[in-house]
């Protein structure tokens, strides 16, 4: 457990939100060989242990991890149930996963996610995730959705602040 904490400090997550394109790039390095990091994405019982938000239980309903396959899972937080689904466009072992991602509460929205696994040698791996959505507005909402109280309150707060200063 302490090893994981130390790794977390050394391998900080980097985020880039491109100003001109509706993308988010997340980069993170891991103190594990690429085969192992890939397995943590490939096997649903492993995926369920880390993917969901803190305090939720991940229920993976469908996980056909192969090119042309599909997936769906739910994050359960008490009575609340938030579900997501998508397709695997390409699964290239230990190199690349390309998938779509949709929040079932907003079926018109879809992001294309490209995850690249890079062998850094010495049993280390760099994971780069590029997400592409349909508009800059959607991208910014995704980033703002991390805000406590959700995106609507986030927007309201920004509106309030902008009103106060104008």
């Amino acid at each position: 457990m302490s090893a994981a904490t130390q790794q977390g400090h050394r391998n900080q997550t980097q985020i880039v939100a491109d100003p001109a394109m509706p993308t988010i790039t997340i980069t993170r390095e891991f103190d594990a060989p690429v085969a192992k990091v890939f397995r943590a994405f490939a096997e649903p019982h492993l995926l369920a242990q880390w993917l969901g938000p803190r305090g939720t239980t991940m229920q993976i309903d469908h996980y056909d991890f192969r090119t042309g396959g599909a997936w769906s899972y739910r994050a359960q937080d008490g009575d609340a149930d938030v579900s997501f689904y998508g397709s695997f466009h390409e699964v290239r072992p230990e190199e690349r996963i390309v998938q779509t991602f949709t929040f079932s509460g907003y079926p018109d929205g879809v992001s294309l996610e490209m995850m690249t696994f890079e062998d850094l040698g010495d049993g280390r791996t760099r994971l780069t995730g590029l997400s592409v959505v349909e508009s800059l507005e959607s991208r910014d909402m995704i980033i703002a959705s991390g805000m406590e109280g959700g995106v609507v309150e986030g927007y309201e707060r920004l509106d309030e602040v902008l009103e106060r200063i104008s």
Partner: protein, 124 residues
């Protein structure tokens, strides 16, 4: 440029010159001429950058004063950096859980690429 306020702030902060202007205004208010001085660009170009920051609500200019110094609206700036940082932190927490899963995988299945190496890596 996108029309909604959130996108305007993101786009405004995406430019390196504008980020630099924000950093300098965080120290103290300054006029356009003062802000333009260190750059190899015209006052007009800096004015354009300031206009973008102003439209995004990040910078305000006093209307009455002769010098019309620019003022950083730190509250808006903080809000944006908090949003991005919060998003980043959630990703980081997720990856720290993945770190822990990777360590557990090592313990469970040490045969993957050589037991000594992997056990050593997990213990370090």
């Amino acid at each position: 440029m996108a029309a909604d306020p959130l996108s305007r702030v993101f786009a405004a902060l995406a430019d390196p010159t504008r980020r630099d202007l924000v950093a300098r205004l965080a120290v103290r208010d300054a006029t356009v001429n003062e802000l333009a001085a260190p750059y190899d660009v015209s006052v007009q170009a800096v004015s354009k950058h300031l206009k973008v920051l102003e439209d995004a609500g990040l910078v305000s200019r006093s209307r009455d004063a002769q010098r019309r110094p620019c003022h950083l609206e730190a509250e808006v700036f903080d809000l944006m950096t908090r949003w991005i940082e919060r998003y980043r932190r959630e990703a980081e927490e997720r990856f720290q859980r993945l770190d822990a899963v990777l360590v557990r995988m090592t313990d469970e299945e040490p045969e993957a690429t050589g037991p000594q190496d992997e056990t050593g890596a997990a213990a370090s």
